[in-house]
């Protein structure tokens, strides 16, 4: 499967990065999707999208108040204007050579690095490497809606991969990790109830 480019890196730290893309590129990535930033020398950083937002635009605000937006104007704004779409991703691991580690990377990706959506094969390899080590990064992130993000991620794995028992193992791991944080556990399980039967 061809790699799907979703945008370019705007800013980054070791724990997360932000990607900018045009509206026409916005169909591919989704909340909870796994993305990667290849940095050369067989080294790439993985991230999980936890927020997609579109900055305010004065013209769009004015058009909205006018109502009756024609198809041409709609397409002009979506395809021709520079609408600043930003996606924020939590860094969940990195790959060095053939080895995937669920650790924070030695260095973050750099400005304008191309960010790709992971293919089902890449998603399978990442989530089955180790024992859910990347969940640590998700549970630590205060800025992400945890339950929703985990539910979206698990749904993506279910839809894109053929992993049969992965979901059950993932839920067990989450229960274990959150056993001392009852309010968060209840909240996460509530969200997971939407995607796990």
């Amino acid at each position: 499967m061809n790699a799907i480019q979703i945008g370019h890196l705007l800013r980054a730290s070791t724990s997360g990065f932000t990607v900018g893309c045009s509206v026409s590129q916005l169909e591919a990535p989704s909340f909870g999707a796994l993305v990667r930033a290849p940095l050369g020398n067989d080294y790439q950083v993985y991230g999980l999208i936890y927020d997609i937002h579109i900055d305010e635009d004065g013209l769009v605000r004015q058009l909205v108040t006018a109502g009756n937006i024609s198809e041409e104007v709609m397409r002009d704004n979506r395809e021709r204007r520079i609408v600043p779409v930003e996606m924020s991703a939590l860094t969940v691991g990195y790959q060095e050579g053939e080895r995937i580690r669920h650790l924070l990377p030695p260095r973050p990706p750099l400005s304008l690095d191309v960010i790709y959506l992971c293919t089902p094969e890449e998603l399978t390899r990442f989530v089955t490497a180790g024992r859910f080590g990347y969940f640590r990064h998700l549970l630590r992130a205060r800025e992400a809606p945890l339950g929703e993000l985990l539910a979206a991620h698990i749904l993506e794995v279910q839809r894109k991969t053929r992993l049969q028992e992965w979901t059950e193992a993932a839920v067990h791991e989450l229960i274990t990790l959150l056993r001392d944080d009852y309010p968060t556990l209840v909240s996460v399980l509530g969200a997971l109830g939407e995607v796990v039967s």
């Binding site: 006018a66 009756n68 397409r75």
Partner: protein, 397 residues
């Protein structure tokens, strides 16, 4: 703090104290303007004769020239907006600056083609031109802001022609094509335009206009918030006694009244005014089908009327179907922008054309790198500019 606010505030107070008297005077002058409009509204022939006389004394006289319609005519749109090919162009420029690190100039023309009712994505175009060092000198030395503005206007109109020729064939049969620019149709710099550079630009511009006419295009210039008093000046000349005609230059009994206010008193939302010829010092250059005309258009609504001036050449002014297409299309474009009516397509052309400070800085950087790589000299900015760029003093905590 470098401004002496005490001095400024004293003046502000003085302005405030005289406001009531100024408003009173303005109300009186406005009343007079309305009365003169009422009495002269159908005196077109007599007014034209007076303008003819006034022109012999003041060849640079700038005012409205009445044609066949009453001065206070008000025409609602004759039709709904039809599918139309709209083309708009706008330009922005970076003028050469001796204090900058490098002596260069940049011109950027942005254009957009939008076919209304097609559901298709509009097409956008950008033409960027960079001039460096010796290319920036004309017969009068380094290009002035005015020369660059003329070049910008010309480049905009050329782009419109190029796109009109390219898109005329692609539009469905009988789909009218409108070209729009922001501002008057008159080439910039006309008032001071006596140099060879201006004359050459004007010749080219007139040739472009003629070709647009041959293409069957509806050409218009859109003047937002017009500050001119063309109709008011016409009334002043209409109210000038024959024996005082020699004083026409200084005869300004209606000073302070704008066309926008006067026409706003009778032009209903969506309506256009009568079409007037444009009497100006440069009108001799725009002859026959290219003669400049204009009308006012109320693009606002009942609660918020908003008047703009639309300039058109004679071939559009005298073609009622084309005029109706333009009228409807402008209203439609302005409605898209909601409570701040302005043609959407013109705003987009501006967005495409504008050169941001960051882009300008990037071009300077690229040019400097290339020059250094090729062994050229890069002087750097002037000490004066360098001092101006220093971060300002911080305010006291």
């Amino acid at each position: 703090m470098s401004l002496n606010f005490q001095q400024v505030y004293a003046k502000i107070r003085e302005i405030g104290q005289t406001t009531a008297a100024r408003q009173q005077r303005l109300a009186e002058v406005r009343q007079r303007a309305q009365a003169w409009l009422q009495s002269l509204a159908d005196q077109n022939e007599a007014l034209r004769a007076r303008i003819e006389r006034a022109r012999t004394i003041d060849p640079d006289l700038r005012c409205a020239l009445p044609l066949a319609e009453r001065l206070d005519a008000c025409y609602p749109p004759a039709q709904e907006s039809l599918p139309t090919v709209l083309i708009a162009a706008d330009g922005s420029q970076v003028a050469p600056d001796h204090h900058a690190p490098l002596l260069y100039s940049l011109l950027n023309v942005g254009a957009i083609v939008l076919q209304t009712g097609s559901g298709e994505t509009p097409q956008v175009f950008t033409d960027s031109t960079l001039w460096y060092e010796e290319e920036l000198y004309g017969e009068n030395g380094l290009w002035s802001e005015e020369v660059l503005a003329q070049r910008r206007d010309l480049a905009e109109r050329r782009k419109l022609l190029e796109l009109a020729q390219a898109f005329q064939g692609t539009a469905p049969e009988a789909c009218p094509l409108i070209t729009l620019t922001d501002g008057p149709l008159e080439l910039w710099g006309a008032k001071e335009g006596s140099g060879n550079e201006y004359r050459r630009s004007l010749e080219t511009y007139l040739a472009v206009l003629s070709q647009l006419q041959a293409q069957g295009a509806i050409v218009a210039g859109y003047v937002d918030k017009p500050g001119a008093d063309l109709l008011v000046r016409l009334l002043e000349i209409g109210g000038l006694e024959d024996e005082k005609m020699a004083e026409v230059r200084s005869w300004r009994p209606l000073r302070g009244v704008t066309d926008r206010w006067l026409v706003g008193q009778f032009l209903r939302p969506g309506c256009r005014s009568a079409i007037f010829g444009l009497q100006s010092g440069s009108c001799a250059h725009y002859r026959n089908a290219l003669a400049l005309h204009f009308f006012y258009l109320n693009v606002g609504d009942e609660r918020h009327p908003y008047l703009v001036r639309v300039e058109i050449p004679r071939w559009v002014a005298e073609d009622a179907p084309r005029l109706n297409v333009l009228h409807a299309a402008l209203l439609e474009q302005c409605r898209l922008m909601g409570s701040r009516p302005y043609p959407y397509i013109l705003h987009r052309a501006h967005e495409i054309a504008v050169v941001t400070f960051e882009e300008q800085h990037q071009v300077e950087h690229m040019l400097a790198v290339e020059l250094r790589r090729a062994g050229g000299e890069v002087e750097g900015e002037s000490c004066k500019q360098s001092a101006k760029n220093l971060p300002g003093r911080l305010p006291r905590p």
